[in-house]
């Protein structure tokens, strides 16, 4: 990995490096965005997954070499349905998974639109993975593997066909993203904002209030 930087810790303690990243999910309604996350985070699958309610975001960690990569995974909360996703959703996202349904050509078309939207709106360094979900229904497929693969290559996206139902490639897609993310030292630089909760917590602890 080209980007792994930072000298060894001088005191030689074997403290693992932890890097935290915001990952956003995009894609049409009902392509299985939430199912992918649930499978990845909890190892669960529900045939009739309700539209996402109640979770701000989920977190899950994966290990890449000596680094623990912690994903803060944001779901669209349904705001994509009427094309009303708030721009704040993309803010500061370092990774995105754009999901389509291999049995539904329209969702692949929409996935391309989401990729364009990300390239327009999100940080230029964002790592994007394209996931053709519902690969367990490959006999009903309407999006060919080669077609999606070619598109992904053209646009320098990571690409996998996944199945939240069978767990095929679910961990793999997150791991592939984790490997591609630059794991610089995330030392807190006072002029760079950090997540407010963490920051407020620090301030609050320091001040001994609340």
């Amino acid at each position: 990995m080209a980007n792994r930087s930072g000298p060894q810790r001088p005191n030689g303690t074997a403290q693992a490096k932890i890097c935290q990243f915001k990952l956003v999910l995009l894609g049409e309604s009902a392509v299985g965005k939430s199912s992918l996350v649930l499978r990845f985070v909890k190892g669960q699958f529900h045939e009739f997954q309700e539209s996402t309610i109640g979770a701000a975001f989920l977190t899950q960690t994966v290990c890449v070499d000596d680094t623990t990569v912690k994903f803060e995974i944001w779901d669209t909360a349904g705001q994509e349905r009427y094309h009303s996703l708030a721009p704040m959703y993309y803010r500061g996202a370092q990774a995105a998974i754009v999901v389509y349904d291999v049995t539904n050509q329209d969702t692949f078309g929409r996935a391309k639109t989401w990729v364009k939207e990300l390239q327009r709106q999100a940080s230029p360094n964002i790592v994007i993975a394209l996931a053709g979900n519902k690969a367990d229904l490959a006999n009903k497929r309407s999006v060919e593997l080669e077609e999606a693969q070619a598109y992904a290559e053209e646009n320098q996206l990571l690409f996998m066909e996944t199945s939240a139902k069978t767990a095929k490639n679910v961990n793999e897609v997150f791991l592939a993203i984790a490997k591609k993310l630059p794991k610089n030292d995330q030392n807190v630089n006072p002029s760079v904002p950090v997540n407010i909760t963490a920051w407020l917590t620090i301030c609050v602890l320091r001040a001994g209030h609340f």
Binding site: V41, K42, G43, S51, T52, I53, G54, A55, A56, F57, L58, T59, Q60, T61, T76, A77, G78, Q79, R81, Y82, H83, S84, A86, P87, M88, Y89, R91, G92, R120, Q121, S123, P124, N125, N184, N189, S191, V192, P193, V194, N195, I196, T197, W199, L200, C203, V204, R206, A207, H209, F210
Partner: protein, 529 residues
């Protein structure tokens, strides 16, 4: 109907201003079925944050024709929501030439560095400068459009203020990032000074003598000691804060610090009010640096978008780019809901921006809150002696010819602009000016210089507009289940009044429910931590 929206709701919210968005979040949070729509393609209405191209569109937008009226059907009458009467007037913009310092471009990742989100900090060697003509500036800004986040209604949060409390309690804060404001400045007689705000500031400041330091310390402590609703405070309701300070045995400079910067008061502010405002300021000191304020990264619109996200997370349905008319029973009954996209959407409650309330309910005679705004894009910080970061400057007119102007300067750390630029917001009350923006002209002449003489910043772009907010107190006789929400009150620096308004509307609809309670612990972390 042309789409698959459910046809009935507990609450339909029309408009995505801050108050509306907080109400939508609070209602969805307690399990109410919420539909939130906005006729614009963007969130926030008069609270929006725009990139440079969006600003150009907004300036060019002359307001739409009112939606067609419909014939009454079955005793129901359609009332068009109106925004044809624009609340914004006297808009103008100008571009100027100037010299900008180009950010050093690290190899390859040039985009990332300019984006301002990267850690790729350039350790500048010799700064590279670029001289722009007015036309160059115009082209440059257009080419950097997306790197600007320009607020129509810039506002700050008091670190210990009620908005921060609600953000933390509701966990909406998890969607947001903030930066501390670094410098509190005061410009009197053309001279900019750093205002000592905290006790340690007072201790280290060089603009105040030792004797005065003691007096100032004592006064700051006294100001904080007044109790709400105490007799002492009540007695101070009939005098001005300015007079109160004059009796305190402190120099004029120190009086100005407290009056204009710490209390953010005017010559007319009562002593009781001034003390309360000073308390809000002083109580938030010492948590996030030496000022009491934090600024939402990417602009104020992020805050309302974060509330909208909470609403969506709890099942609220979001539809931008969609208009709605009211559906009112002609017999003066309750509002039945809204009429949108050719279909009827029934609602128990309708929440709407005052700016969209049919004009028959708006009393335009009663006084409204009117303010002037300027957005400047500049090339240097107004106070080079300060810390790098956000500065809040007050520009009072000691002869009372105008109300004080509030200036907020944002640098590239805030993501308001790319490196090498600054975004400066001006706000002042409209009233005493004989011609629009004449108070701004005085400030600009003092603080900025077209040629950059004396190390002053140069204005590269200037947008001026006047906003006439309709307050919900000007709206009357609405059906009892319709609730109107005021637009941004920019004359107060924080979000307090909007938050109060949202809570009041929520309590009117759901008197027995908690306002934005903390989410029950959602099992979030699956693996080890």
């Amino acid at each position: 109907m042309s789409d698959d929206l459910p046809s009935s709701y507990d609450v339909v919210v029309v408009g995505t201003g801050l108050v509306e968005s907080i109400v939508a979040a609070a209602a969805a949070r307690i399990g109410k079925q919420v539909l939130h729509i906005d006729k614009n393609k963007y969130y926030g209405q008069h609270w929006a944050t725009f990139n440079y191209d969006d600003v150009q569109q907004w300036v060019g937008d002359k307001g739409e024709a009112p939606s067609p009226t419909h014939d009454p059907v079955d005793n129901l009458q359609f009332l068009a929501t109106e925004e044809s009467r624009r609340l914004v007037s006297d808009i103008s913009q100008d571009w100027f030439g100037g010299v900008i310092t180009k950010p050093k471009e690290p190899p390859k990742k040039s985009e990332a560095a300019a984006e301002g989100d990267a850690k790729a900090d350039s350790t500048d060697e010799a700064p590279v400068t670029e001289t722009l003509t007015a036309d160059d500036t115009k082209a440059k800004l257009a080419s950097l459009s997306r790197k600007f986040n320009i607020d129509l209604a810039p506002k700050l949060l008091f670190f210990k203020g009620p908005m921060v409390d609600v953000l933390i309690k509701s966990q909406v804060s998890r969607y947001l990032e903030f930066l501390g404001v670094q410098n509190i400045l005061l410009c009197v007689n053309g001279v900019i000074e750093l205002v000592p705000c905290s006790k340690s500031d007072v201790f280290s400041t060089r603009t105040v003598t030792i004797v005065e330091k003691r007096l100032l310390m004592k006064l700051l402590t006294t100001l904080q000691s007044y109790k709400d609703d105490s007799e002492e405070l009540k007695e101070l309701e009939n005098s001005t804060f300015e007079d109160y300070l004059k009796q305190q045995n402190i120099s004029e400079t120190v009086q100005h610090y407290i009056l204009y910067s710490i209390a953010m008061a005017t010559q007319e502010t009562t002593a009781a009010q001034g003390i309360k405002q000073a308390q809000a300021f002083l109580n938030s000191i010492g948590f996030c640096g030496n000022t009491p304020f934090i600024w939402p990264m990417y602009g104020t619109s992020e805050i309302l978008q974060a509330f909208c996200r909470l609403s969506a997370v709890y099942g609220g349905i979001y539809c931008l780019n969609r208009n709605a008319d009211f559906l009112v029973n002609v017999e003066n009954g309750p509002c039945e809901g809204v009429y949108s996209n050719g279909g009827i959407l029934k609602a128990q409650n309708v929440v709407v921006s005052t700016g969209l309330v049919p004009s028959c309910y708006v009393n335009r005679e009663s006084p409204s809150e009117c303010y002037q705004r300027a957005v400047l894009i500049t090339n240097k910080a107004v106070f080079p002696g300060g810390k790098e970061g956000i500065s809040l400057l007050t520009y009072p007119f000691l002869d009372s010819s105008f109300d004080p102007i509030t200036l907020l300067e944002l640098n590239s750390n805030t993501s308001s602009c790319p490196k090498g630029f600054f975004v400066v917001h001006l706000v002042s009350r409209k009233g005493k000016q004989k011609t629009p923006y004449e108070d701004f002209d005085k400030l600009i002449a003092d603080i900025f210089s077209p040629s950059g003489e004396g190390d002053k910043p140069t204005i590269l772009y200037k947008l001026l507009f006047t906003v006439d907010i309709i307050s919900s107190t000007q709206v009357s006789d609405l059906p009892a289940n319709v609730h109107s929400c005021s637009g941004p009150r920019c004359l107060s620096i924080d979000f307090h009044s909007s938050l109060q308004e949202a809570e009041t509307i929520f309590k009117r609809m759901f008197p027995d429910d908690e306002f934005l309670p903390t989410p029950e612990a959602v099992e979030e972390v699956a693996s080890e931590e």
